[in-house]
Homo-oligomer: 356 residues x 2
Amino acid sequence: MNTIALADYDIQIGTIWTTWNKFLQTRNYSKVIVLVDENTKQHCLPIWEQNTNVSEYLLVKIAAGEQHKTIETCQIIWSKLMNGDVNRSALMVNLGGGVIGDMGGFCASTFKRGIDFVQFPSTLLSQVDASIGGKLGIDFQQVKNSVGVFRNPQGVFIEPAFLKTLPQREVRSGFAEIIKHSLIADATHWAHLSQLEHLEGVDWPSYLAPSLEIKKAVVTEDPFEKGLRKALNFGHTIGHAIESVFLESKYPLLHGEAIAIGMICEAYLSHKIVGLSAPELQDISDFILKIYDAVSLSSSDYPTFLELMQKDKKNERDEINFSLIPEIGKVKVNQTASKQLIRESLDYYCQLIIKN
Amino acid sequence: MNTIALADYDIQIGTIWTTWNKFLQTRNYSKVIVLVDENTKQHCLPIWEQNTNVSEYLLVKIAAGEQHKTIETCQIIWSKLMNGDVNRSALMVNLGGGVIGDMGGFCASTFKRGIDFVQFPSTLLSQVDASIGGKLGIDFQQVKNSVGVFRNPQGVFIEPAFLKTLPQREVRSGFAEIIKHSLIADATHWAHLSQLEHLEGVDWPSYLAPSLEIKKAVVTEDPFEKGLRKALNFGHTIGHAIESVFLESKYPLLHGEAIAIGMICEAYLSHKIVGLSAPELQDISDFILKIYDAVSLSSSDYPTFLELMQKDKKNERDEINFSLIPEIGKVKVNQTASKQLIRESLDYYCQLIIKN
């Protein structure tokens, strides 16, 4: 088992169950609540239940999917906690992907002004992205994570077995964050992972650990996203906007699928603004398009993309904020781009997928 | 002007405007949002506006009253912030009583995972109670403050002129917390204030400062309400339950009016459980009944009172938690009482008001 020790909690990766049961035994919580959706209830809860020494727990099940990451679902969760007489000495276990972790963590952090919670991330994306940083929240008025708090869990337990039941699309989505971590901070890791021809049969824990170390280094420096942490935003300014628009369409994109597009566009901006070389831009674009399906963007959506970027919570004053890469493995935060150049970067992606 | 310096912010009492304008000038916020209700818009906003050097601000008005301290009102507030393109470098000014301060602080703390906020408490209650402690939140399913967070404001500015427009009932409500602070921690302050025959023409700042010093001492020791801070709960276990039930009735009680009843009941419990002397119990009861109107409690509501106490977020395991006073000026936290004794304490209050 790998342990990544953070200032106030540990991330366990691999054979987690002995540590988990010891955690439960020493903490002596008044009640354990387990939050699941219909997918994790079917695929992960049996594994959790079989390996956890707990005589009873309160199960809270919500509907799966980003479209349910809303204040209405929070009200359902808070209600169940209230009706279950959950007190402040209880523990909430978030067993699921990013939606469960973000929203369950937010509900735990705000119920009676905060009860303890632990994360059992069940998707590659949530294992790599949501395990560090304490960013919790929900979507509000179509804007992702626009209501939330920063708060750390008491522990994160990563069970690789959960990934085996995951559709390949979900795996690809998580892989985008691993790509991002290498691009902003670790050229060696990039050189290694960009050798992959496809994502079948990959040994994920060995890719997760270095990725989590990069995120740890960034977040430790800047827990409240005042500066350096914005590095993690690479690919996300444009990616989030694309994700939000597609969320409303018949064919929603997964987070990482949108971020993959965002990284190509923002690599283009990096080339134009902070001097990313043409060959590196090419390498990044080629690798991402090898792994991810092409997505048609309509130029009629560009104004909506720009409007959503304008509302991004990372902006300061009225400028759209980007984190760009002057070369693979390096990052410059607090960059800005004209709307014209942003449109050009979207065109760049569109032309690439026509060529492919 | 009095300044009470806390670890990460200051409370200003008295002639606040120079300090306030300096605060605004040095912080250079991207936008200022002012949250008011219809009362503070009429009585306080003109004073605020006249004395504040700000060229423009976004006004957010909500309906006055505890019955609007809900997640639905939060959604209205978040919407206005979202539609006003408020970014993370903005400042929210909560101009009003406890509802505005608690709910506005909660909305600010959760909007884009947290923007800065300052409190301009406009009632005696919010000046003495909400200025220290970082307790923010809303009522959920009839249970007071059951959804919220702990977070400190960037500053608190107490303008005595705001109290001049306050109805006497509101003043009495705030005075309950001043009584409470003296009962749990300062027998001298109690001896002084219990000389008051009525609350007309009182010089409030001179009563506020010692009261805030008591709260500061308690909260500094225990910011997250793990132990000592529960001292402040004296009168509140029973008082909150009474307040919640009356909130649903035709004649809602103000917070302090309910707490005044709670303090008499819990003084009775203190007499029975931790040895508060009979004369001190008598003094406390007499003084509170001199200042506050009698309220008829129906024994048919006792089961609901007890059920609500059972759900109090300060409970640990299944016992109802009390902070009791062995003598005036001293406190013992984590006390518990049988349901029978709690009923007796409510009967004690009922008999007292019949005698009076």
